[in-house]
Symmetry: C2
Subunit: 241 residues, 2 copies
DNA sequence: CGCTGCGTTGAGACTACTCAATATCCGTGG
DNA sequence: CCACGGATATTGAGTAGTCTCAACGCAGCG
């Protein structure tokens, strides 16, 4: 299960994962877990000794300020490691919470250490996935710093569209986004009221049909133009080794 | 040279770097380079096959939108890898430019691949440095998304103060920041005019003495309070292996 | 059936932006 | 040594994007 998800996410970079590496991943899973919605899987400042991969469901990374202001820093879906960075870092600098009920696979750090000793190539792939998170993070920073709120929302949708398609969770025309407008606001770095206004604007511009969690993309090209979207950061190209 | 810089940056996490690993790092350097100020060391979309570590000088990562808006995503000084992420990723999703003249050490990807094959522990340390960049990145996102511009500037100063102290480039009371207000604006995600106003505000509040590139910290506690600064994300604690 | 959380909408306030003018610094050349 | 040009710093005024406050509607749920 786990291997298929990871392989799907990485196939564009590394089409064939050697059998022994596939087995190594599978063996590194100590157990599976079901986590209810709106629960923290790990909290900032925690010292952790295992990593979690989402098999199904949605989660988000977020940071908070002492006075309560909150910023969501990433959205994660099936196939994503939510805290692989904790393997080298150990200490969490942010929290990860579920947005929906999540099924997760648990990888003890010890098993990952073993992988780094025996499978250099696989190690580089795991490293790669943490770096992909970072490229997305940089785009979010660019968005929050330099895009207007509407553009930012458009860009988020473009990103999710691609990422969901890669793992087969969207047909490119519709996505299911289990976020309240308050959570969306925390992801965009705006107030809840403004998040709503910005959603309305995309609706009014006839770019999307947004009803609750279901979002129909009416004009993907228009959305990408508005967002000034450039997908290269998602590292979808196949490269020679 | 290179090893000392890296060791200094990592000593809090891993106090003793085995001799053979130190040699491996030293051997991985193919050559040194001097880069003039205000020049791109690597550009977005580049396909690269070597990584660069700053020995001396300042550089920044930045991303741009097609219409020219620019966001600086990280500031780098001596001891920082500016594009280690390009080792697993290959393709650059952003650019790296010098702020001052820089002396850099060059690591061919092939040499790094060799390290991942022979030194799992060192590999995890290299992985770690890319993840430290990511924790800083997350703080910047939190800043840009949820802190007012003054708080954001204060937070940036607190961060730089700590980072410079770790590598011995600041005594904790003064830092040299080779940024124009335009570049500072791009780092904070505000307009140049507002960047200036925000610098003035820190001056007026008697928190700093800001003259050109030289910044004297008059009230570090006040600065940290204003920024709601929490240094744990910089991973300065020593942890049991 | 009333509570509670979320979505929606309006109004006024505030942070930050743009435009624009002036001042200062610094390297270059006369 | 000083005049000049260009880039940067500084300041003011008006505007625009976004925020806060607040009210109301709606749906789910015990």
């Amino acid at each position: 299960v786990v291997t298929d998800l990871l392989a799907r996410r990485l196939r564009l970079r590394d089409p064939v994962l050697p059998l022994e590496e596939r087995e190594a991943i599978e063996d590194a899973v100590s157990h599976y877990l079901d986590v209810p919605p709106d629960v923290d899987m790990v909290s900032a400042h925690d010292l952790v000794d295992e990593c979690k991969l989402i098999v199904e469901g949605w989660a988000c990374r977020y940071g908070t300020l002492p006075d309560g202001r909150r910023q969501i820093m990433a959205l994660h879906m099936g196939g994503d490691f939510v805290d692989l960075q904790s393997f080298p870092l150990k200490r969490m600098d942010h929290s990860v919470g579920t947005l929906t009920r999540c099924r997760v696979a648990v990888f003890p750090h010890a098993a990952l250490t073993d992988i780094t000793r025996r499978f250099p190539h696989l190690t580089r792939l795991l490293w790669l996935t943490t770096l992909l998170d970072a490229t997305i993070l940089r785009q979010w920073l660019l968005s929050v710093g330099r895009r207007w709120a509407v553009e930012r929302l458009a860009h988020l949708l473009c990103e999710l569209l691609v990422r969901l398609q890669v793992v087969g969770l969207s047909n490119g025309k519709t996505i299911t986004l289990p976020l309240t407008q308050i959570e969306l606001a925390d992801a965009l770095g705006v107030s809840p009221v403004h998040a709503h206004r910005v959603v309305s604007e995309l609706r009014d511009r006839k770019l999307v049909l947004w009803r609750g969690q279901r979002i129909d993309i009416l004009d993907r090209a228009g959305l990408e133009a508005l967002a000034q979207f450039d997908a290269t950061y998602l590292a979808l190209e196949s490269l020679p080794r």
